[in-house]
């Protein structure tokens, strides 16, 4: 037996023994001989918990100053993140995934091989195939194929890295959104933005570190838990700001309360809290004091940064913004302003991409085109504006959704839909990333000739999360938080950094 074999053999034996330890009476009695004595000794010596090692990341949380800037594990290329999520799942087949073969199959019955053992959200029986409802062209030096639905983004394809083989195992909006943003299809885990602000804090103490802006008339299907802080301290949850009216509800002092009185009352409350802290020593009380003070400062700083009226006219023209209205373009401009002021993570959600074909708004040849028109110009403007301000190289921009759509036409309850629509499809869809150390003009992953399944470069939510954390300077396998007796990761037990798209 060589040393290597010996080693392996021992490992195996040890495993067996370990197993026996749990099961055999003989082992139990043998263990008890020393065990009970040891337990008694332990209590006599006053041993505490057996937790001897604390992960380095445990030191992150400073209750007095929970958002203070902190260094990443290794120098990250990106300092801040703008994550643009199209809630409802836009069709990759009308935007990024050029499938001429699918056009030939248009109107034909879906071959049974694609349906066997598959379960869809709405498709029943045998649906018809639906060819691409948009023309595609090659753009830029990289020659990426983009549809005519995105005429503006087509001009900056050399700045983006297209992920063509993203996949998810969820086919309903809420769990799929949760998986994308919190690494779990069920509620209760911290969102990406919470992890990032927990890890890095924020550069501007006068603003929240994690801001959420929604448009399209609705919050995402999964509700606010998609920017929740889960088991992380609550200070890391996303702060939702509104596009019209007061950016944050009740941010103004009520009539009759002057700034001085507000200050005096907060000081008084903090004093009481300090007394309380002396009595109970609970760090959450310090956290509360810090948050009162932060809120007081934010009463001034947040409305200031959230006001896009003082942006010059050419910027409004560039983004296509309309001050005073709740619309996606305004949110995108705000995202740039926030990142410029040192906000760590800006999360945008735009609702209304769920093109099932049940109404013109939800048709891939009507509503989808209108949605594209509302987002194409501002997103392109964002990339260019970040670039000219010298911010794109340290701001990671992610565009994506919770899943994609089927190459088949939806036939809800087996009936033909009034408009052209597609069903939910998690097996293959597209996302893109730009800035923050991402190599522009690249494509990663491929799908089959009708965009139904991926053929290589499989990319899961965990891989995207791992890549985002990597660009910010974190090893997603070591970046953990201790909860319920074990360390948790954003990427659970998965995730691979997509090195192919990194510069």
């Amino acid at each position: 037996m060589t040393q290597q074999e010996l080693h392996n053999w021992r490992l195996q034996h040890e495993t067996q023994n370990k197993y026996l330890h749990y099961h055999t009476r003989r082992h139990f009695i043998k263990q008890s001989a020393m065990g009970l004595g040891a337990l008694a000794l332990g209590s006599m010596l006053g041993c505490g918990t057996n937790k001897t090692t604390t992960p380095a990341t445990d030191n992150f949380f400073d209750p007095v100053n929970p958002l203070a800037p902190r260094p990443p594990m290794f120098p990250g290329k990106a300092k801040s993140v703008i994550y643009i999520h199209m809630a409802g799942a836009p069709s990759q087949l009308e935007l990024f995934s050029y499938k001429p073969e699918l056009a030939k199959l248009d109107g034909q019955d879906c071959p049974p091989s694609l349906l066997e053992g598959k379960k869809f959200a709405f498709i029943r029986g045998v649906p018809k195939m639906l060819g691409p409802q948009a023309a595609f062209r090659q753009h830029g030096q990289s020659g990426l194929w983009l549809s005519d639905n995105l005429p503006h983004l087509s001009t900056v394809v050399d700045d983006i890295a297209l992920l063509q083989a993203v996949t998810t195992d969820q086919f309903n909006h809420a769990p799929a959104q949760l998986l994308m943003h919190s690494g779990s299809a069920r509620q209760g885990r911290p969102s990406l933005g919470s992890w990032v602000t927990y890890g890095l804090g924020t550069e501007n103490k006068n603003l929240p570190g994690f801001v959420v802006l929604t448009s399209g008339g609705n919050n995402p299907d999964t509700g606010k838990s998609v920017w929740g802080s889960g088991f992380l301290p609550s200070v890391y949850q996303g702060v939702q700001c509104r596009g019209e009216g007061d950016p944050v509800l009740f941010i103004k002092d009520p009539d009759g309360m002057s700034r001085d009185i507000r200050k005096a009352s907060i000081d008084a409350i903090n004093k009481i809290n300090e007394e309380q802290y002396k009595e109970y020593n609970d760090p959450e009380i310090l956290s509360r004091i810090a948050q009162y003070e932060m809120a007081y400062k934010m009463q001034i700083s947040v409305p200031e940064v959230m006001n896009i009226n003082d942006e010059p006219a050419y910027i409004h023209e560039m983004y296509g913004t309309q001050p005073g209205e709740a619309r996606f373009a305004n949110n995108v401009l705000l995202a740039r302003k926030l990142v410029e002021r040192g906000v760590r993570f800006v999360q945008l959600f735009d609702w209304g991409w769920d093109a099932h074909g049940d109404s013109p708004e939800n048709a891939v040849d009507v509503g989808l085109i209108n949605k594209c028109r509302a987002v194409d110009k501002p997103i392109t403007a964002l990339l260019l504006d970040l670039k000219q301000r010298g911010l794109l190289d340290e701001t990671l921009v992610i565009w994506g959704s919770e899943f994609g759509r089927t190459p088949m036409m939806e036939n809800r309850e087996g009936k033909t839909m009034p408009f052209k629509g597609r069903d939910h499809h998690g097996a293959a869809f597209s996302m893109w990333m730009a800035g923050g150390g991402i190599k522009g003009g690249t494509t990663y992953g491929e799908t089959d000739e009708i965009g139904y399944n991926i053929t290589n470069g499989k990319t899961e939510a965990f891989d995207i999360q791992a890549t985002i954390l990597h660009q910010l300077g974190f090893d997603h396998e070591k970046f953990t938080y201790e909860s319920q007796g074990r360390p948790f990761r954003l990427t659970d037990v998965g995730g691979k950094v997509i090195h192919d798209i990194l510069s």
Partner: protein, 466 residues
Amino acid sequence: MIVLSIVDFIGRFHPVLVHLPIGILLVAVLFYFLSGQEKYKSVAPAISIALFIGMCSAIASSISGFLLSETAAYEEPLLSRHQWFGIATTVVAVAAWVLYSKQFRQFKGVMLLLSLLIIVTGHFGGSLTHGDDYLFASGDINEKPAIPQKLIPDVQQAVVYTDIIKPLLQAKCYSCHGTAKQKGKLRLDEPDYILRGGKNGKIFIAGNTGESELLQRIVLPHDNKEHMPPKEKPQLTKNEIALLHWWINTGASFTEKVTALPQPANIKSVLAALQSGKKNEEVAMSYIPEAEAEKADETAIKKLRERGVAITSVAQSSNYLAASFIAVDSITIKDVELLIPLSRQLIWLKLGNSNCTDAAMDLVGKLTGLTRLSLENTAITDSAFKQLKKLSRLQYLNVAGNTISAAGLEQLKDIKPLKNLYVYKTGVSADGFASLKKIFPQVLIDTGGYKVPVLSSDTTLVTSPK
């Protein structure tokens, strides 16, 4: 494990205890033979006590050894051999002590037997713990650590084979196709052997990668039996495969320099990575100097934090610092002065969107470690560059939104590392930009002013299917 049974616990003393009988009994044997000589006669009285203690320790080791064998995992035939030889040693040791006191005649034989047993038992014990190839195995018992590809100072002047291909083959192929082993009758450690190929004949055809077995087998799926290197061995990286591919495609020369060969764009970047080491993903950020700085002055950092400056090290393991004045309402000269004690550590500085003037730049000019400097939308003028030109390590400079001109920026021409220059919304004219392009041929100068055209489709809605 917190709870350890007493039996296990005693058993674990075996590795300590076994050394006692070995030493003590061998000393007894030594003394016994020495005492025969006149000169060493005086050691004779020690023999009995040595035998007694040796015997006791032999019994103790036998017992502890038996308990250990019950609980821990050992290889079976070897274990029982060690066990029985151990017991025999103990028995003979006891016998030796008894016989010595009775002045047994053939005692010399007993002593020889005892030392022989000790040696044999000891050898079996050693094989049990260290593996039976321990004694005679050559130095490289463990898997050889992968040989890291060394950085090449000037990759264009490097010889392709010696400096790039050979180290690669050495790291990934030599262990089976080198001096020690020649699997498939293939050796890859010398040009002659490489050209000769293996048992299937030639392994590549220069200039024809499609017909080259070497490459074909490398790019096979990992679970294919023919795939090389075997799936449990370290695999070639994408860059390494690209390099091999390029080398064979360009004629597989053993003498040519890199510069003499055509370099497609993808190979250019791979070659550049060999020079800069950039492919080590974790430290890809070139904005950080390679040599580590000493620890920064904590009180200086604290003072800055009190003023609201966001200052941290650039990574947990680094002493280099990044500072941002983003949350400081109105920056005074005194605030900037606080940075001076940190001039060795500070490499990234954000002073943008503030009221900073040229006076503050007198101080910033002293922060010579800076690699990134953001000064957008401040109150600086062209005269600031008189100070800023001292920042010889600067790679990123953002002076967007300032009233400055090309003439001012020209003063930075001696900053060799400069890579990115942001001059959006400055006084730099079109002519000025043209002259800057000439002065800074390597620098990406971004004048901004991008326009996103207004298309009629941006504001109209589709109502019916097209």
